[in-house]
Amino acid sequence: MARRTSLPVRIGADLVGIVVFLACVFPVYWMVSRSFLPRNRIKGEDPVFVPTGGTLDNYRRVFSDGSFTDALVTSLTVTLLTVGVALLFAFLAAVAVSRFRFRGRRTFILTLLVIQMIPAEALFISQYKMLDGMSLLNSVIGLTIVYVASVLPFTVWTLRGFVDGVPRELEEAAMMDGCSRTGAFFKVTLPLLAPGLVATGVFAFIQAWNEFTLAVVVMTDPDKKTLPVWLVAFTDSRSRGVDWGAIMASSTLITIPVIIFFLVVQRRMVSGITAGAVKG
């Protein structure tokens, strides 16, 4: 829309764009640049805006006591388990919802919709009690159980969109050519779904990797922290003075995989969230 934009309007819009760009980038720039600055330059009288020369000392301190690595392992395990299980369950459900008409289908879809509205913060008390009763507090399995449930609705929803996008006629054509129904599905539909599965999996990965609320509730044991919980505790350990350099270094490390993944799926993400929400 609006092909003809007058020059003053364009210049004004450009200026706002540049301000927004700076406001978005500055905190990220600050995080990354501080992570390479030695302690005395972070705590100098005036902030260093354009740092020259750097050090890896901050990163060394992050890894020094091994707690970051422990949290990294916990985070990766929980995240990958969540993605694997959620993707499998969601895929099966998405195929059912997209390719079959069956009793309870509508109820299932509507339940997913409603569940998506429930904030984790409104249920974590009883989820905590439940996991406590199952002796699954501070366990990777326990956290994975609640994570799978929290990413499932979105995952089913998105995958359903992708399955809908593969024309049935393709499957039917393969069946005409002598494929069984299952064979047609695996040989024709599944390969076409691969990009959708990757995008959905990446999205679930980001959600589980970033999740904080349930992690802080379920993983109370200092040895069982996920990275976000570890980072908050690390920032909070004021007894030895706040080590901003190391905090920025670890924040950078936690951010890197998310940024990479985000760039992979961002196009689909914009359409995905609203498409999932708008279409029936």
């Binding site: 195929v95 908050v232 929400a277 029936g280």
Partner: protein, 300 residues
């Protein structure tokens, strides 16, 4: 497809089963459990094995009676509306401006937005805490350089400036989604319709109100309601800012309030009934959205 359905009517149910069981176990059962819990006296003694006692609506009465809940609920709703409103206004403004920018600036703006969007919430929190740090924060340095008296100023002690910082972070993180989504919707508005309106003599404002706005209405609705849901449940930002030196008593929102009552305080009965309020609030505020979805699902 009719053939398959008739022959293998149990297959689709089997396919749905794992997902349904997972949701039932991790969300359905806790939900029921929470209702039960909210009707029981369930404190530390019960944690150590004593049988919980049924007290009917006792928890709810105490919650409403002790004067703690209402301020928290009001604060939560106010915080939600302010943040959702700001995010929406800025996001929509930015989306409109993006249609007017030169290509280079637009790409630049989108890169920036993408970066802010991609930041994990805890990482964003540590950076913003650092920016607003009492001693080494660049905000204090800048305001002092500009002539203010902000040397050693603590932003988190006063509830108002605490929420100012929280709002800044929440809006910073949420605007990208709104801006991208609305921009995508704006580019879908059919150009010939806008042009036809122009030929018919409609000015820019009329074209926006009568042509552009109606055609992006469904997306607008979804964005607003998602934003309300997300801002109603803000937890991480408040939790970390409280840890970083805020006073938690006057800064609790519903999420952190439930956490304080239950996980920290061990009073699970009270926490459960406070959580029920949060659930109720969510239902009330999202009812229009759900109804809209139900209608679309029926039409589909």
């Amino acid at each position: 497809m009719a053939r398959g359905t008739a022959r293998r009517s149990h297959l689709p149910l089997g396919l749905v089963l794992p997902a349904a069981l997972a949701l039932g176990l991790a969300l359905g059962y806790p939900l029921v459990r929470q209702v039960v819990l909210s009707l029981q006296e369930f404190g530390l003694a019960q944690q150590f094995g004593q049988a919980p006692e049924w007290i009917g609506l006792g928890n709810y009465r105490e919650l409403l009676g002790n004067g703690e809940l209402w301020p928290v609920v009001l604060r939560t709703v106010a915080f939600c509306f302010v943040n959702a409103g700001l995010t929406f206004a800025i996001g929509l403004g930015l989306a409109l401006l993006m249609t007017r920018m030169s290509k280079v600036t637009r790409v630049l703006t989108q890169c920036g937005l993408l970066l802010a969007w991609a930041m994990p919430v805890v990482a964003a929190m540590t950076v913003w805490q650092f920016l607003f740090d009492t001693e080494y924060g660049v905000v204090n340095w800048l305001l002092t350089a500009l002539g203010g008296d902000f040397d050693g100023h603590s932003w988190l002690l006063d509830p108002w400036s605490f929420f100012l910082v929280a709002t800044l972070v929440v809006v910073w993180m949420s605007v990208p989604f709104v801006a991208f989504t609305l921009y995508a919707a704006l580019t879908q508005v059919p150009e010939d319709v806008v042009e036809a309106a122009q030929i018919d003599g409609a000015g820019p404002r009329q074209r926006f109100v009568h042509v552009v706005l109606p055609s992006i209405r469904p997306v607008l609705l979804v964005v607003v309601l998602l934003q309300v849901i997300w801002d109603l449940r803000v937890f991480t930002q408040i939790y970390t800012l409280q840890k970083a030196g805020g006073v938690s008593k006057d800064t609790n929102l519903l999420g952190t309030y439930v956490y304080t009552l239950g996980i920290k305080g061990g009073d699970f009965g009270m926490a459960a009934s406070a959580a029920m309020f949060m659930l109720l609030l969510t239902v009330v505020l999202t009812a229009p959205y759900v109804r809209m979805m139900l209608r679309q699902e029926r039409d589909a």
